[in-house]
Symmetry: C2
Subunit: 379 residues, 2 copies
Amino acid sequence: MKVKYELVDECDKARYGILHTNHGDFETPMFMPVGTQATVKTLSPEELKDMKSAIILSNTYHLWLRPGEDIVNKAGGLHKFMNYDGPILTDSGGFQVFSLAKNKKKDIVEEGVLFKSHLDGKKLFLTPELSIQIQNKLDSDIAMSFDECPPASASYEYLKNSIERTLRWAKRGKDVHSNKNQSLFGIIQGGPHEDLRKYSAIETVKMDFDGYSIGGVANDGESKDDMYKAIDYSIPYIPKDKPRYLMGVGDPVDIIEGVIRGIDMFDCVLPTRLARHGNAFTHNGKINIKNAKYKEDFTPIESTCDCYTCKHYTKAYIRHLITSDETFGARLLSIHNIRFLIKLTEELRVAIKEKNIYEYREKFLQNYLGDKYDKNIKG
Amino acid sequence: MKVKYELVDECDKARYGILHTNHGDFETPMFMPVGTQATVKTLSPEELKDMKSAIILSNTYHLWLRPGEDIVNKAGGLHKFMNYDGPILTDSGGFQVFSLAKNKKKDIVEEGVLFKSHLDGKKLFLTPELSIQIQNKLDSDIAMSFDECPPASASYEYLKNSIERTLRWAKRGKDVHSNKNQSLFGIIQGGPHEDLRKYSAIETVKMDFDGYSIGGVANDGESKDDMYKAIDYSIPYIPKDKPRYLMGVGDPVDIIEGVIRGIDMFDCVLPTRLARHGNAFTHNGKINIKNAKYKEDFTPIESTCDCYTCKHYTKAYIRHLITSDETFGARLLSIHNIRFLIKLTEELRVAIKEKNIYEYREKFLQNYLGDKYDKNIKG
């Protein structure tokens, strides 16, 4: 079965819906934790369920290199391999090729991308067909088309040619996609340019994918303004009965702005990466637990938070773990940070149902940004 | 309340008993996982309970340095600090001073030991009184006396003087021990020498501790033969109504040999350290999961094992995690390895009750040592 999006309620452009998948249904908007190497760093599947995480993302590029898609396939697919029975989305490897290739060097040709492994420098050649074939074998619920991810600094001319190639690559990938239980999403590119986003969206939608994502918003150097433009210029052309996924975005403010603009799904390594560096989300902004002021702070990160970490552990203890290089500290902060983003999407769903999403945004931003908040400057 | 040992059954010298503590009772023989820095590496308290771990050890030396005993005390003691409501034993710091001191240099004087921190090289001076005062503040259920841990290579003359000093240190520590809810164990030293062990045991027992441990058996260079001698020469002088703890021992064969000789409690970093390096205990000996032969092995580490890891994950997946530096791999192997040792003590308890401990040993060693097993050569 392909995924099916059910629109339940709207508040202006924001959507509250349900995505039906082969591994269970979940409500949107939803944040997807990232399990790059078939594991959300430090966490068990049971912990992900406890924090109401409903779908995870895993990286095709990493699994292609290790352990290899054939081993995952022999295990019975990614769900069985990693003991996770919820929905899984795999990316195409496109972003990793552009961001992780050794020395960031790659040779983009019509056939695909030639680059060197970030692990051992081995020459690799990834094509749209190969990306889809790998994902078919991984047997994720949702596969992504292989796209080019140009840098934020790319010129209009470059982007114009790039979106044409990405369309050709999307078609080639779709033509070889053969896993009937796996959905395939198309990716809209075009930088911050209205005409390019419109063209990319219309042409991608013509190919009739099971869902659509907006790419090219999470590269180094992208401005928030460019991100909001990318969404605003793409969304009008995506059919309402298909899910919309903003790739690589996990900042709480961006999730709110994305939802307000009509996005249903988000993913980002941010909550787990921040955790490993001792950072925690709070409603009053991010804190770094290594700060000396938490040495004798025997209160939870947030007393109002319902996560396992906040119910059982103090800042002083987590600070001790992080400063002592104990991975249980990263585990506790990952639980809190992921739960923070999931809870944010839960609250956004309520705000959509109660038709007060702008009030929710105002209140959240006032607390989260504090002095930096300027209610006249919204994304 | 001080701990209270209840002898339930015996099989030759092996004892099946119950240790009553302020944080619950548990059956012995028992293996204690090590939570050096107020966390059993990678694991949650709930996971420890799931694997029927009944008591953990934490390290006074490490907690003294980070976060400091005053912070733990202000948190309400070690149980509250780390959210663990089962019994906790703290060591004295003696072993760490001798094994972890920067460049292994230390200056042993009658007053205590002068050495440099393994973290920052700062000069530190640990005395028997300070060790007990730190442990009083940590508020563990069981504190250990501060002893000298001479190397395996120490001469008879050195050991003779050393056990005298350890006795004086034990007395000084006992004199300042002031936590009425905390038990205090004495430590028997004396290397592999019958007369020294006898003397150390008799003089330590005269001081009337709440339990007794046998030390100096887990230094680098100790032979198994020396360990068995140390136990055999000490045990006859320890009163039967007190628990007996063999320090730093966690090899399955040593646990069996220790139990047969009358030991009730064991601790070791071995199961978690092995896990981090990809090693797993099995009834047919240790395996290293990184071995290429496990690449496509979609069976659990041991199909007969009842641990979370073996119920849900394959060798191929754990191998992928370990070779990809994912800490979830260390977590899964730690769960299996600790459960393996706890299960071993459960089986030893049954063997004691059923009076077939020697048959159990024979069967276990035949499987565990394989070709290396020689039934005529027992420890």
